[in-house]
Amino acid sequence: MSDQKPEFILKDLQGAAHHFDGTGPALVCFVKEDCETCNIAGPVLQTLSQAYGDAVRFLVPGQSGEKNADFAQRHGLTMPVLEDAGCKTSFSWDFEIVPALYWIDESGAVVTHFEGFVRDDWQALSDQMASATGKAAAQVDWDSLPAWRPGCGSKHFDPEVYDALRAEAEGSRLRARKVEVASGDDMAEFMFDQGFSDGLPLVPPTPERVIRMLEGTHRDPQDVIATVPPNMGPATVEKIAINAVMAGCKPEYLPVVIAAVEAVCTDEFNIHGVTATTMGAATVMVVNGPIVDKIGLNGGLGALGAGNRANATIGRALRLIIRNVGGATTGGVERSVLGNPMKYTMCFAENEERSPWEPLHVERGFKAEDSVVTVFAMTGGPVHLVDQTSRRPDQIAGSLGQGLEGVFLPKMHNLPIDALLVVCPEHINTLTVDGPYSKDRLRDRIQQVTARPLSEMVQDDHSGAGIPVADAERMGPEKLAQLAPKFAGKEYIHIVVAGGDAGKFSSAFHGWATGEVGSISVSRKIDLG
C-alpha cells in the first residue's frame, strides 16, 4: 500500500479550490450522496475529522453534483466537501466502490485504503490515526454501526460517465480531431452541414460512442487498415469506428466493417474506379460464417433490404468510410451518371442453412468456421428473376440464365463481366428436386440457355450497340453463325443463396467492368481476435 495517488484541484461547496498535491497527512474519502453506505460513513468521517483534523487534512470528494451539499448538510460535515465534476478525479484514482477511503502519509504513501464499510477496518483506522497523531481516539459509538455494508458502485463506472472519462482521459485511445458543436446548434443539421452524410441522418460520433465502438475489435485504434482512394486517406481503426458510429453500427459489427475496408482497398477490387465510374458501381457485401448469427446479419426473409440493422449499417459504414476517409463525394471524384441506391448500403448474409452448396467463403478457400466478407462491384440490382411455374431443375436453371440476359444489354454477349446470382430457397428446392445440382452445372446451364449466334449481336437499326457492321462483314456468315453465351467464361457467374422460404423469386446483381481494367471480387477473413 504505497503507490501515490494523483494530485487534484477540486472546488468545495463554496467554490474555493483545494489542491491535493499527492502528499499528506491526509484522509481522502470519495462519497456519493444516494449511497446508503456512504451515509453510514458520513457521521464517522465527521467524528474522525473532529478528533484528528488538526493534524490530518480531511477531504471528501463527492460524486453527486448539486446533491453533494445535501450530503454535507445531512451529516453536518465541517471538512471540505469537494465537487468531483464529471468524476474525473474518481476515474484517475481508479477505485470501484464508494465510500473509497485513503489515508495518506506525509510522503504521499497510501497507508490505508478500503472501499465500502467494514466496521473493524474503520475502527482500526481510527486507532492508527490516534497513534500517528498523538491525539485522543475519536469518540465513535462503534457498536451502533453495522459490522459490514458493501458500498455502491462508484458513479464513474456508470456507462455514460465511464465511456466519456475514458475518451477524455490522459492516455485516451482516441486521436481524431475533436469537432466542437455550439450549444445552440442542432446536432443533426450540423452534421449535414459538415458534409459527413450520405444524405441520411447520422448518429453523432461522440467520444463515448467511439470508445464503445472500439470495444468491438482487438485491433489498436491507430492501426492503419488501408489507404482509401481517391484521396488516399489513411483508414485507421479509429476512423473506421467513427464512421461505423455515424452509420448506426453496434460495436460487434466493427470487425466486419474493418474486413470490408481491407477488401475494397485492394488493387484487385479497385474502389477508386468503382467509386469514380460514370457507370455507377457500388459495393455489394456478402457475409459468411459464424459471425452471421452472432451479430444478427440477415440472409433470410428480406435479406436484400430493408429492416435489419446489421445489414443496413455495415454496408452504410463502408460507404461512409469511402466518402469521409477516401474523399469520394458526388460531384467531386464520384461521377456516377445516375447514381445507385446501393451506394447507400448493400450488405447481406448468405443463407448457408438453405444452401445445397458449400458456402461462398468455403468455395473461395476459407474454412467453414471462418467468418468472411466478400465484396463485389455491381452496377445494377437486385433485379428480380420471376419463375413461379418451373417444376424441373433444368427449367428453373434455364430461367435463372434467361434472367441474366439483362446484364449490360440483352443483346450483349460474351461479356467479361461479373454477375452475382442470388438464388432463393424455393428455386433451390426446384433445382434439387431430383438430387444434387452443382453450382457448376447451374453455370453451364446459364451459358447454354443464353448462347446466341454472333449475327444477333451486330449493330443494327434497333440498337447501335454490339459488333460494328464492318467487323461483321469481315467475320463472314460462318463465324457469325457461331454461338456466344452471355458471359465470356462461367467463372464470371457468382452464386449465393439468400431469402426467405416463401416466394419463387431469385435475384441478380449486374457487374461493372471485371478484371484488371475494372474490379475483381475480393474475400477477406474477418479478424475476431
Partner: protein
C-alpha cells in the same frame, strides 16, 4: 490526376487528358492530392462513341494545348 501528380513528383512533366465533363473531377482530385497546379487538358465530350476520325480531330485540336501545358512546366 493521380498519375500526373506521381509523374510530377518524379520530376517528369505531365499532363492529364480528359473529356470536358470531367473538369470538376480533375479540380477536386488535384486539390485533394495537394498539387493544385497539376495540369490537365480537356477535350470535347463524349469520346466513348466517337469514331476514329472524330478522335483524331479531338487529338489535333488538343495537341497545342497539351504541348503548351508541358512547356509551362
Amino acid at each position: 490526376m493521380h498519375d500526373t501528380v506521381w509523374f510530377e513528383i518524379q520530376g517528369i512533366p505531365s499532363v492529364s487528358i480528359a473529356s470536358s465533363v470531367f473538369g470538376q473531377a480533375a479540380e477536386t482530385q488535384r486539390k485533394a492530392l495537394g498539387m493544385e497546379g497539376a495540369r490537365y487538358v480537356l477535350v470535347p465530350h463524349p469520346i466513348q462513341d466517337a469514331t476514329d476520325d472524330e478522335m483524331r480531330a479531338k487529338a489535333r485540336e488538343a495537341f497545342d494545348q497539351i504541348i503548351g501545358a508541358l512547356r509551362d512546366a
